[in-house]
């Protein structure tokens, strides 16, 4: 799939093919899918745990900025993440 521009007003939800779960043994959030597992870094975990098919990307950025006021370039990072996540088929938009 060619890189599709991410729109701020889009409402993302997790592709039901994947299950997001905290793994104690890995000490991080992971995505589980048929016969596989991806370990998420802290920021990917922070974003994905808020992806519930309710908030738009703009709202997610606001929420995260409120929680991590010291984070710079947060909007850019979040957009970058969704670009990446979409290419990996993690995210669906209704």
């Amino acid at each position: 799939m060619s890189a599709v521009a991410i729109q701020l007003e889009q409402v993302p939800r997790l592709n039901p093919m994947f299950r997001l779960q905290w793994e104690k043994a890995q000490d991080c959030w992971v995505l589980l899918y048929p016969e596989g597992m991806v370990k998420l870094n802290a920021s990917a975990g922070a974003i994905l745990t808020r992806v519930k098919g309710e908030a738009s990307i703009a709202q997610l950025i606001e929420q995260l900025q409120a929680e991590y006021p010291e984070a710079e370039d947060l909007a850019e990072d979040v957009l970058g993440f969704f670009q990446h996540a979409q290419a990996l088929n993690w995210i669906l938009y209704d």
């Binding site: 043994a25 992971v30 048929p34 016969e35």
Partner: protein
């Protein structure tokens, strides 16, 4: 399929071979040739205990396989227990013995994924290979039901010289079924498939054509925005370097067989190594300290040419089972490697594949298994 990342030697992947019983008789089955001689199956409680221990050690993926796992009457109970523990649960099945109701029960119990294995897109070839007449129709029906019930759909097509020329039809069928992942895996030559290798191994030309067709479909799917992933697995008989088998011996995989024997890979039972049993040893002990699980860890066991080879980190000398089957020495360099002094055996098998004559296959069933048991 995509393998989990390596952590610090945790059994991330637990394969529970619930039973050796199976209504099919596939000639490429990876079960041991002497399965009819195996001991009593683990009880429900013994299995749940294994799941609990492995989960504490970091296991995240649990595969229910067999034989045919549907034969176990307590399967729903086992799924529920595994899901409660936090596993991602995979059911690996032929689809025989499955119906919509049972599938819904599994869903309710928390089953995450059902993988249905196919032998061909062509009913006739499929039935010939499975030794059963209604198999194909039933599988198709169950594949559709998997999708209808909201499971991710992973289809596994075992390819070999009798069906690989029809790979376009296999892919078309997967698209029609709206699969999410398709594994087009040429069968690996262990267990029953090794006995039948001459009748199963495709020629290089067949393989290259199939791979090219798969690539064409990938491009077409991508252009159409279809997220279906096609995974094409080549048989290592056509490689010059072996695969890093199981990602390393005792690194991330743990198989427990129907009678409780713990193995670092599902075919390791054939090796002349004594493997521990979950009935008499804790999983922690089995994984960390048992001689069986430590046998091929590290590289101290390696003979030449592997020992002084600068590529040994990449493949760890290849597959121990393959080395054993082809050379009689489980320590030997995997003959797939062109540096192996036994590489000619692989070349001979390729040569043999070029001869077109039809061969009789040995079907996997109890009677044939007893024949292998005797020796």
């Amino acid at each position: 399929m995509i393998k989990p990342e390596i952590a610090s030697r945790q059994p991330l992947w637990l394969l529970a071979e619930l039973t050796y019983k199976c209504p099919l008789q596939c000639p490429y089955c990876s079960n041991p040739l002497d399965f009819a001689g195996a001991g009593a199956e683990l009880t429900t409680q013994e299995w749940i205990d294994v799941f609990t221990q492995a989960r504490e050690m970091g296991a995240a993926q649990l595969g229910f396989s067999g034989g045919e796992p549907l034969v176990r009457q307590d399967l729903t109970e086992l799924i529920a227990a595994a899901r409660d523990l936090g596993y991602y649960t995979n059911l690996i099945t032929s689809g025989l013995g499955l119906n919509a109701e049972r599938m819904a029960d599994f869903r309710q119990a928390g089953l995450d994924h059902i993988q249905i294995s196919f032998q061909a897109s062509d009913e006739e070839v499929n039935n010939m290979l499975a030794g059963s007449a209604k198999a194909f129709e039933q599988k198709l029906k169950m594949a559709r039901e998997v999708k209808a019930q909201g499971y991710p759909m992973v289809l596994n097509f075992v390819t070999h010289r009798h069906n690989i020329d029809r790979i376009d039809r296999i892919i078309e069928l997967c698209i029609e079924l709206e699969a999410d992942y398709v594994e087009l895996a040429t069968c690996q030559y262990y267990g029953w498939a090794f006995e039948n290798r001459a009748a199963l191994l495709p020629t290089r030309a067949q393989l290259e054509k199939a791979e090219a067709i798969t690539q064409e479909y990938r491009q077409r799917l991508q252009a159409a925005g279809n997220p279906l992933k096609l995974i094409f697995v080549t048989p290592d008989y056509y490689e010059e370097r072996p695969k890093k088998c199981m990602n390393g011996w005792g690194e991330i995989f743990l198989t427990v067989t129907p009678d409780g024997t713990a193995l670092p890979c599902h075919s390791a039972r054939m090796l002349p190594i004594e493997f521990p049993n979950v009935k008499t040893m804790s999983l922690e002990e089995i994984w960390q300290t048992s001689p069986g699980f430590n046998y091929f860890r590290g590289d101290a066991w390696m003979p030449e040419p592997c020992r002084s080879c600068d590529e040994k980190e990449q493949d760890l000398g290849g597959c121990r089972c393959q080395a054993f089957m082809l050379t009689g020495d489980m320590h030997a360099t995997d003959p797939v490697c062109s540096k192996s002094p036994e590489h000619h055996r692989i070349l001979a098998a390729r040569q043999e594949a070029e001869l077109a004559e039809e061969r009789e296959m040995t079907y996997r069933n109890e009677r044939n298994s007893r024949i292998f048991c005797r020796g």
